[in-house]
């Protein structure tokens, strides 16, 4: 009896309302897809060569992206774990968090700046007499970009795993005179082997549902993923039938990946933050220092150069002129309104779900219904992983097309889709904080009778303010940088900042795009930094 009856009822009603809302929103979209496909035509179209080719490319690029990210992450994590003390170590680790907080579109622009036709890479290679050996467009570009975004994620997770190794192991290894290869074989690899499946599964999921990167760097029949093909079917080919088939195909694909993922151990991010400082005598060997230094230098350049390119190109553009354009302020206001509403909605939904889940667990010890609710509410918060944003948007696009004017409700839809999109991450920030907080205070609050409004004001809000701020700024950054939902509903009268960047890229007003990208990137990074100042770290959110 840790909650009063009224509190229990309120918590369960709130959670049930959120659950019903999510299921209705996603369910209607899927229903619209199913109804307009008419069942039989799917089987006929799914084996069209065009669709099979897209499916093949989607899987191929995801497998290759995952493998490359993992392979490159291993030496980086190894070097960071081995070299505990050198100036700037913490900054390299922070730099590796940047791609996660950066809107994907901005990252793509930076990569084009470095690896593109006029980028410094190809210019340098040209001087050596090689003619544009690296292409940022097509498969190689997509792989490059996926490695840019996911290698740091993998390296950080691996580093955390290596830092969980008891520090005596390293001392013992050097005491036994193990050479780097033996250390890798007997200590590092067994640790990495246990975390790599989870990390690989996560990255595979991210790459298989990647939209923005493939849209900007791929495109064309040779380099199109399912998500981008859905968008092209709707916006360019006006072939809703194919969009529906592809959407359903994507749901099948994601459900298979999620099913496989659930069998793998989830990667954990917490390293050893307390306890004795780790000493790595093997890192002091001159050979190890040289190799590690080289690896870290290359990784830093790989990550930092595109970011610097965004900054330099942005500064070179005519920022003053951009700031005088009404379309900039209009789209900035739209983006701001959408991201704030989406973040607030995500926070509201997840708070109701988290507290209802907690209440459901408290009540019955054995009641099946409550356990079912508990699981359903957890699953609902991750429903967007199963039905990706583009598929959701397509479903609503099709449903509203039959009803008439879709543009009137477009902002509402984008807010709802963006809120759902950030929900898994917001939940992962809030739920542990909420559980720890309840664990500390629930008995005390119940025994003193601090309930309802007084508890919200005196106990819950002060304690949960920081994680809620983290979740809010994180959801806002995610929504601000999102191109997926707006790609289907955007129009001349409804423009967000990412959409403005994208359309300026396409119309060869690249200078404008650079300037806008810099502004958007800085805003999103500031939001991420503001969020991570709280106790819950954002990587917690990203790890699925």
């Amino acid at each position: 009896m840790l909650l009063t009856k009224a509190e229990m009822r309120r918590a369960m009603l709130g959670g049930a309302a959120s659950l019903a809302g999510i299921i209705a929103f996603v369910g209607l979209a899927v229903l619209a897809l199913l109804l307009s496909s008419g069942g039989s035509s799917i089987l006929a179209t799914v084996f069209e060569p065009y669709i099979l080719r897209i499916l093949r490319f989607t899987l191929l690029q995801a497998v290759l992206s995952t493998a490359l990210s993992i392979v490159f992450a291993i030496p980086v994590a190894q070097a960071l774990a081995r070299q505990r003390h050198f100036p700037g170590r913490i900054w390299i680790i922070r730099l590796m968090a940047v791609p996660m907080g950066l809107p994907v579109l901005i990252g793509a622009l930076g990569l084009i700046g470095i690896w593109g036709r006029q980028g410094i890479m190809n210019s340098a290679l040209l001087k050596f007499g090689l003619a544009e050996p690296v292409s940022i467009y097509g498969l190689s570009g997509i792989l490059l970009a996926h490695v840019f975004f996911n290698m740091p994620l993998a390296a950080r997770l691996m580093l955390a795993a290596l830092e969980r190794v008891p520090s005596e192991y390293w001392l013992m290894a050097s005491g036994l005179g193990m050479r780097p290869l033996s250390t890798f074989r007997f200590i590092e690899w067994p640790v990495l082997r246990s975390v790599i499946p989870g990390i690989a599964g996560l990255i595979f999921m991210l790459c298989a549902t990647s939209f923005t990167l493939v849209l900007t760097l791929g495109g064309g029949p040779a380099a199109t993923t399912v998500e981008v093909a859905i968008y092209q079917s709707l916006r360019f080919d006006f072939d809703p039938g194919r969009a529906v088939t592809l959407s359903l195909l994507q749901i099948v694909l994601t459900s298979m990946i999620l099913g496989a993922l659930s069998l793998l151990p989830a990667p954990k991010d917490e390293g050893m933050t307390v306890g004795k400082p780790v000493r790595r005598p093997d890192g002091r060997l001159p050979g190890a220092r040289l190799v590690d230094g080289g690896v870290l230098l290359l990784a830093t350049l790989f990550l930092a150069l595109p970011l610097m390119s965004v900054v330099l190109a942005g500064l070179r553009s005519d920022l003053m002129k951009l700031l005088r354009e009404p379309i900039f302020w209009q789209s900035a206001a739209t983006s701001l309104a959408i991201s704030i509403s989406a973040a607030a909605l995500a926070l509201l939904i997840s708070m109701t779900l988290v507290s209802a889940r907690r209440t459901a667990l408290l009540r019955g010890s054995g009641a099946f219904g409550r356990r079912f609710l508990f699981a359903a509410m957890g699953g609902a918060s991750s429903l967007v992983l199963l039905v990706p944003t583009i598929v959701l948007a397509t479903g609503w696009f099709i449903a509203l097309r039959n009803l008439g004017n879709a543009s009137a409700v477009a902002p509402v839809l984008i807010v709802a889709i963006n809120a759902l999109m950030s929900l898994p991450f917001v939940m992962r920030v809030l739920e542990p904080a909420f559980i720890v907080h309840k664990h500390r205070t629930q008995k005390l609050a119940a025994s003193l009778g601090v309930t309802g409004w007084a508890r919200l004001r005196l106990i819950d809000t002060p304690a949960l303010f920081k994680p809620m701020l983290t979740a809010f700024s994180f959801a806002m950054a995610l929504s601000l940088g999102d191109l997926g939902a707006v790609a289907l509903f955007g129009s001349d009268s409804f423009v967000t900042l990412p959409w403005l960047v994208y359309s300026r890229m396409g119309s060869y007003r690249t200078n404008d795009a650079d300037g806008l990208a810099l502004i958007l990137g800085v805003v999103c990074l500031l939001l991420t930094i503001a969020g991570t100042m709280g106790p819950a770290r954002r990587e917690v959110a990203v790890h699925g």
Partner: protein, 238 residues
């Protein structure tokens, strides 16, 4: 109303948590210091949670101070609580933490404010009103919890290993403070303890739990003299 002879009565109280079954039946004397002992997992915490109202009995009745509290919400029971730790809300100052014991919405009169200050004096922490819990030592935080129990002024005080997290040197002083409070208020004290010396020093009545049941319940002299129960003998020797 006549003061009932038994502060606490558990009548055929049954509860199942996971795979473990609990069955409690006892009558505990008013105005005594009652020690609850037993091995880990024997059900000491569940016993206390039932009295406090954090766990609810599936069957049977619980009476505290002559009142049936089986279905009563924790705050409405005539008990105060001191846990092993997390007794204070860490983001609220000492004054507010104690004030919540008087009024959970923190609507305090000037008399209440004086009561809070004098309770802090009694536990040896005069002038600590505006300090934050994080700036206090573990022993001082437990004293604040005692001060809050004083202002709540309930007939029964429940303590869940209140000194376990403290240095051995501090424990004696805290136990003395507890006994002082007990003598001043004449309340009934139920204290879960792992420490046989502590039980011998402070208790008037002993309970020994095993496998979710009360296997020995007796006045302290008889309790310490019982040789017929191997589990209890082992506990007292440790």
């Amino acid at each position: 109303m006549v003061d009932p002879k038994f502060a606490i009565e558990m009548q055929q109280v049954g509860l199942q948590l996971g795979n473990q079954n609990f069955q409690f039946d006892c009558r505990l004397p008013t105005g005594a210091v009652i020690a609850v002992t037993g091995a880990s997992g024997a059900g000491k915490s569940t016993f206390l949670n039932l009295l406090a109202g954090f766990d609810t009995a599936l069957k049977g009745r619980i009476l505290i101070a002559g009142k049936d509290v089986t279905e009563v919400y924790p705050a409405q029971r005539p008990v105060s609580l001191v846990f092993q730790d997390n007794n204070l809300f860490s983001h609220l100052d000492i004054f507010t933490n104690i004030g919540l014991g008087i009024n959970p919405s923190l609507k305090l009169t000037t008399t209440d404010c004086r009561t809070i200050s004098s309770s802090l004096e009694k536990v040896g922490l005069a002038g600590f009103e505006r300090r934050m819990p994080g700036t206090l030592s573990g022993g001082e935080r437990q004293r604040v919890a005692f001060a809050r129990a004083l202002v709540r002024n309930r007939p029964v005080l429940l303590l869940d290993e209140p000194f376990a997290a403290l240095d051995p040197g501090l424990r004696n002083g805290m136990a003395a403070l507890l006994l002082d409070m007990h003598r001043e208020t004449g309340n009934t004290v139920v204290v879960v303890s792992h420490d046989p010396d502590e039980v011998k020093r402070i208790a008037d009545f002993g309970l020994f739990l095993e496998d979710g049941r009360i296997v020995v319940a007796a006045p302290i002299d008889e309790f310490l003299g019982r040789a017929d129960h191997p589990g209890l003998t082992q506990f007292l020797r440790s």
